[in-house]
Amino acid sequence: MSMKAWWLAFVGGLVVLVIIALTVARMFGPASPAQTEAPEANTATAPAETAHITATVFFGSPDGEALVPMRRDVPLAQNVVDQGRQILTVQLSEAAPSPFVTVIPAGTTLRAFYVTERGDAFVDLSREVVSGHPGGSLNELLTVYALVNAVTANLPAARRVQILVDGKEVDTLAGHVDLRRPLVRDTSLVRSDGK
């Protein structure tokens, strides 16, 4: 093989090596913006254990006429769904501080909570929310909108809330308020002064 042929082979080999190196770098190298995978909302990495958020939950005013917002520290969760569960657990289980009244029937627990991509949140409650309900349009409105407002006020990802009982859609809790469709936030029943 002549010197010229050796030289050509050397240069050719060098070019092939550079092309391979470039290709490999593009496939496995440092992530360029275009290659960044979009992780799902619920796979965000865990926050520090001590982190909290301030959530708004709702109790009844002393005269039973309106909802009163109150701030509560809730552990910061890994994602929106877990955060919603944390907030609803406080909303359902915490007794109202005197002189305020509790608007959720005693014994009601959260069976499930999830949020669709359209922003519809589903709050699945145990049957006590129906069996333990005292009745009356106003009582029923306060129960429903305490839950709807607690979800939508704290989780901007949830635009509407549908209440389920025992995993199923229900007409109403006590014969008045339509629960067949998701409900949007309603602040007309909320009174911040607690009077």
Binding site: G64, E65, G136, R181
Partner: protein, 497 residues
């Protein structure tokens, strides 16, 4: 020969290498087909965006210069902080969420760190930045507009409902906005009281309408007519926070005498015949129980019977009770009694309950329909179904879902609630909130004006005693009867052509 081949192969490889070096590795980062436009009181300006992996992103550098926010990178934590007047947003690379003053806001795609630049989804502006900014920020995806501040930019959607002639087009403006229509030769011009319009117009015309297009000013819409069109007519109505402009274009030679609408003719000729009274609860469902044991289901049935006697004997109308004994009845069954009985009015009687024992007084409920349900009804009403009639011609039917039948009577029911409140407060104690609007299940399905009356609070010991008293129940029935008389007069008068 062999050397020649080697040279060719080598040339090819070098060309490939040059190509790889020339084309940047971020070739997938492309600009969107239509730029995003920022609309504010100061005017319009483009907002540069980039599409990566199918997601449209905006650079925080651009956001900082446009919105006057500060962007600070925390290299140790791998995050970025956006601050505005003491309030801040914290976001981390590759996470589809941000913390806005301690509240978690989800984003449709992750925040991306590209070299020295931070890229965020457009929704970051409307969901995260808007929460700390002192002006409204709204992103309208369909029209690719980002509204900043108090800019009046209603959505205007137009559709041609029938080619005709007469050709009919409907233009809806949401939220409701004042509009004036000027009829000119060969066109109708709508002037909307707004800074600009978010337009969704049909691509082509139909019948006597050549095209519906934007005007030469940002708040104008032009309906261009085509021969042999006569003079167009515009009718403006407003309901449910939507202004609807109906444009009707007759043929040039067509008579301008109005064509009677068969639906109006049928209803106008019929006076009230039937009302339905619904005693709430019943059977196992006792409703509210007072501290002395008085049950809601007993009180509602008792007052309903008294009211029936008054209406039948004094007005001569047919009265149907949804239940005339102590039995349970579903809400759909109650609505069916009223709808199938072609009732002119539905009144549902209830007694209220509160966790506060002092709560007292009567309340009247009428239906509140959410925006999306109203949209369903509007779509059904505007599309409709055309059926041939026996005498020739076509009759248009609006198909409305059973569970949203009340949608057409929202205004009438609001008037009914007002009349009920006025008559009740003459004779019985009223609550501090005498009229309430709420998504009441029974009312939603009523295909006639309807209201629900909470006569008193059974949880109040004093009111429980009154609800157990015959005089009070008769007074209550009398008050509701007076309201029926007044509302019937209004209703029959408003039906007169």
């Amino acid at each position: 020969m062999r050397s020649c081949q080697t040279v060719r192969v080598l040339t090819l490889l070098v060309a490939l290498l040059v190509l790889m070096l020339v084309i940047p590795p971020s070739a997938q980062e492309v600009a969107p087909a239509t730029p995003l436009t920022l609309v504010s009181r100061e005017g319009r300006r483009p907002l540069p965006t980039t599409i990566q992996g199918g997601r449209e992103l905006v650079a925080l550098d651009d956001v900082a210069s446009i919105f006057q926010v500060s962007v600070r990178e925390d290299t140790l934590a791998g995050g970025v902080t956006v601050s505005y007047r003491g309030r801040s947003i914290v976001a981390s690379a590759n996470r589809p969420m941000a913390s806005v003053d301690g509240r978690v806001v989800t984003l449709p795609s992750p925040v991306v760190r590209a070299g020295r630049r931070w890229l965020v989804p457009i929704e970051f502006l409307s969901s995260a930045l808007a929460a700390i900014y002192d002006q409204r920020i709204e992103f309208r995806r369909g029209s690719r507009l980002l509204l900043v501040g108090d800019v009046r930019l209603p959505r205007v959607s137009a559709s041609i409902e029938s080619a005709g002639p007469p050709t009919r087009a409907a233009i809806e403006i949401a939220p409701a906005t004042a509009v004036t229509a000027a009829t000119e030769s060969g066109r109708v011009v709508l002037r909307v009281d707004a800074d600009a319009l978010d337009l969704a117009l049909p691509p082509t015309g139909s019948g006597l309408i050549d095209r519906i297009r934007p005007g030469d000013q940002p708040n104008l819409v032009v309906i261009a007519l085509t021969p042999p069109a006569g003079t167009g007519r515009a009718t403006v109505t407003t309901a449910n926070n939507i202004t609807r402009v109906l444009i009707e274009v007759p043929a040039a030679a067509e008579s301008r005498s109005p064509i009677p609408d068969p639906r109006i003719a049928i209803t106008a000729s019929r006076a009230w015949q039937t009302i339905v009274i619904d005693p709430g609860h019943g059977g196992d469902d006792v409703g509210v129980r007072g501290p002395r044991g008085v049950e809601e289901k007993q009180v509602t049935l008792d007052v309903a019977r008294r009211l029936r006697t008054m209406v039948e004997t004094r007005l001569g109308l047919r009265v149907i009770l949804t239940r005339d004994d102590d039995r349970g009845l579903g809400l759909d069954e109650r609505a069916a009694v009223a709808n199938n009985g072609k009732a002119d009015l539905l009144l549902s009687l209830h007694v209220n309950g509160s966790r506060g024992a002092a709560q007292a007084g009567a309340e009247v409920f009428h239906l509140q329909l959410d925006r999306e349900s109203a949209d369903v009804v509007r779509a059904a009403t505007s599309e409709g179904v055309a059926l041939p009639t026996l005498g020739g011609g076509v009759r248009r039917l609006d198909l409305i879902p059973w569970d949203l039948a009340q949608a057409r009577y929202l205004d009438a029911s609001a008037i009914l609630a007002g009349v009920l409140q006025e008559e009740l407060q003459r004779q019985v104690p009223m609550s501090e909130s005498p009229i309430r609007q709420a998504p009441m299940r029974l009312l939603a399905s009523a295909n006639m004006p309807a209201a629900l009356i909470e006569m008193a609070y059974l949880t109040n010991p004093g009111q429980e005693r009154r609800l157990d008293n015959d005089d009070f129940k008769t007074t209550m029935a009398q008050a509701v009867f007076s309201a029926i008389v007044r509302f019937r007069a209004w209703s029959e008068e408003s039906r007169t052509p």
